[in-house]
């Protein structure tokens, strides 16, 4: 029993990371209807920036703040420069642009920092908190706390600020948003900035667990896709719940399903994506599209 709970705790820790990247995907999807395949690479790039700061001797938490601020600006710039020109273009065009962005950011990181792996400092102390035989790593607790904090801040932003209300209005009906005086273009850029920031958090959280290298986020992105699909691509709460569920499912499958083991457990997200698309395409928390004339 303790062993089982232990697996769940591990799963939640991993799941929180998927959740934060899924949250970034969902933010952009809600505002622009775009699935941003480059989300993971943007997060990886931000993580390198954080690494560069710490390597230059900047204390970790200050490096974090600087990186998040740069990610925000970077996300807005990407929207203005790369996405804006294809706004309103057919979906396939936009998808291909984000795939292009994926390749570009990946190559740029390799060019700047090489493909050699780097150690990324862990902001949380080593060791674990123990209760009834259960070990909860401080790192796992830290990750859960950070993702919880990010969610809480986003909730406050969207539900209790004027800017957040404006952003929800743009997501709901861009044309009417314009008519009430909202600058829709800037709001979309703001959405990208926010998503880039949230994604950067996931990169910085995952880097100490893996090694920092340009392909670090590839796997995480797949899990984040599974999480967003499971939770519903238009639901931030769903993205987080989906991330946690995917994390736990992956860990349990690796530990208890004999033939899965640690090699095949990367198949779990695929199974989840397929299952959801077949059984409940809008996801657990998503809204099925029902148009009212």
């Amino acid at each position: 029993m303790v062993g089982f709970l232990q697996q769940i705790v591990e799963g939640l820790g991993a799941g929180a990371i998927y959740a934060s990247l899924a949250l970034a995907l969902v933010l952009i999807y809600r505002f622009t209807g775009i699935v941003n395949f480059a989300q993971g690479e943007m997060a990886m790039f931000a993580t390198y920036i954080a690494w560069q700061f710490t390597a230059a001797g900047v204390p970790f938490w200050l490096a974090l703040v600087l990186t998040l601020a740069l990610s925000f600006v970077g996300g807005m710039l990407i929207e203005r420069v790369v996405i804006r020109p294809v706004e309103g273009a057919p979906e396939l065009t936009v998808v291909i642009v984000t795939v292009g962005l994926f390749i570009f950011v990946n190559a740029a990181a390799g060019w700047i920092w090489t493909f050699l792996i780097k150690d990324f400092p862990n902001p949380f102390p080593a060791g674990a908190f123990e209760a009834g035989g259960l070990h909860v790593g401080y790192s796992t607790l830290g990750i859960l706390a950070v993702v919880g904090l990010v969610m809480g801040l986003l909730y406050l932003l969207f539900q209790h600020t004027r800017i957040g209300l404006g952003m929800r209005a743009v997501a709901a009906n861009p044309e009417s948003a314009r008519l009430v005086g909202i600058r829709v273009g800037w709001t979309l850029a703001l959405g990208w900035g926010l998503a880039a920031t949230v994604g950067a958090v996931s990169g910085i959280l995952v880097a100490p667990l893996l090694f920092l290298e340009p392909n670090m986020m590839g796997g995480v992105l797949i899990y984040a896709f599974a999480a967003a699909t499971l939770g519903g691509f238009d639901s931030p709460v769903g993205a987080v719940a989906g991330g946690l569920i995917v994390g736990v499912a992956e860990t349990l499958a690796g530990a208890y399903v004999g033939f899965v083991g640690s090699d095949l457990k990367v198949g779990v997200p695929l199974v989840i994506i397929l299952g959801v698309l077949l059984l409940r395409p809008q996801g657990l928390f998503g809204r099925a599209v029902v148009e009212r004339a």
Partner: protein, 239 residues
């Protein structure tokens, strides 16, 4: 002396398709102007031109300020409120959020709260539905919400596109009575597009008939009502 809203030789369309071929209007401050005409005449396009949602050539002046070529959010800031055909509510957002969005560009909380109260006196049902999603309202309630949201801008020019669409006759009458009351109490200038010519002429001072992108007939509401051709085409009876 020029009118409050002055539209001269307005041309607009979608891509290569020209829809308006030189429309002219002049509406004095505080008056209601009705736009009538058959389906596809370009009535919606005219309102969209006035709120900056389609590209235009020609002149649009509001109280002397040139509006032509400005984007919709800039026009909202200049006091143009547009209730689009099909209402354009923020469906997943609550009634209260929809109304507050109407005042997005305004800063004073106290004034906004006072205006909310004012909207509830015009449309008491909205107060009972404050926390409900706009999409869950009935058609008539959504139309009231859309007009309420437009009023939250404190508009100088209110554009209404077929407010009667899909509403029961009694609800339509009530809605037009309220539009008239708003116009009288706030001195808001209104341009209203309506299929229901009879009811629109009942509240308007002046009216224009639009056909295939041109104004084919203009006059006071009484003149238009008395016009035999209009009576046949749009009022459904012979004089």
């Amino acid at each position: 002396m020029s009118a409050f809203l002055e539209v001269t030789d307005l041309r607009a369309g979608y891509g290569d398709a020209r829809v308006l071929h030189g429309v002219g209007l002049a509406v004095p401050q505080g008056e209601i102007c009705a736009i009538l005409g058959p389906n596809g005449a370009g009535k919606t396009t005219l309102l969209r031109a006035l709120s900056g949602m389609v590209r235009v050539r020609g002149g649009i002046r509001l109280d002397g300020t040139d509006l032509a070529g400005r984007p919709p959010d800039a026009l909202a800031r200049l006091g143009v409120a547009h209730v689009p055909e099909g209402r354009g509510t923020f469906v997943p957002l609550s009634v209260e959020e929809n109304l507050r969005l109407g005042a997005f560009i305004r800063r004073s909380r106290a004034e906004i709260n006072a205006d909310l109260e004012r909207i509830y006196t015009y449309f008491p049902v909205l107060r009972k539905r404050l926390k409900q999603a706009a999409g869950s309202l009935s058609g008539g309630e959504q139309q009231m919400l859309a007009i309420g949201r437009a009023l939250m801008l404190r508009p100088r020019l209110l554009l209404l596109d077929e407010p009667s669409l899909g509403l029961a006759p009694l609800v339509t009458q009530e809605l037009f009575r309220i539009v008239r009351a708003i116009n009288e109490e706030e001195r808001t200038t209104v341009v209203v597009v309506e299929q229901n010519a009879h009811i629109a002429l009942g509240i308007a001072q002046q009216a224009h008939v639009l056909e295939t992108g041109r104004i084919v007939l203009s006059g006071t509401a009484e003149q238009i009502r008395a016009d035999e051709q209009v009576a046949q085409s749009y009022l459904g009876y012979r004089v």
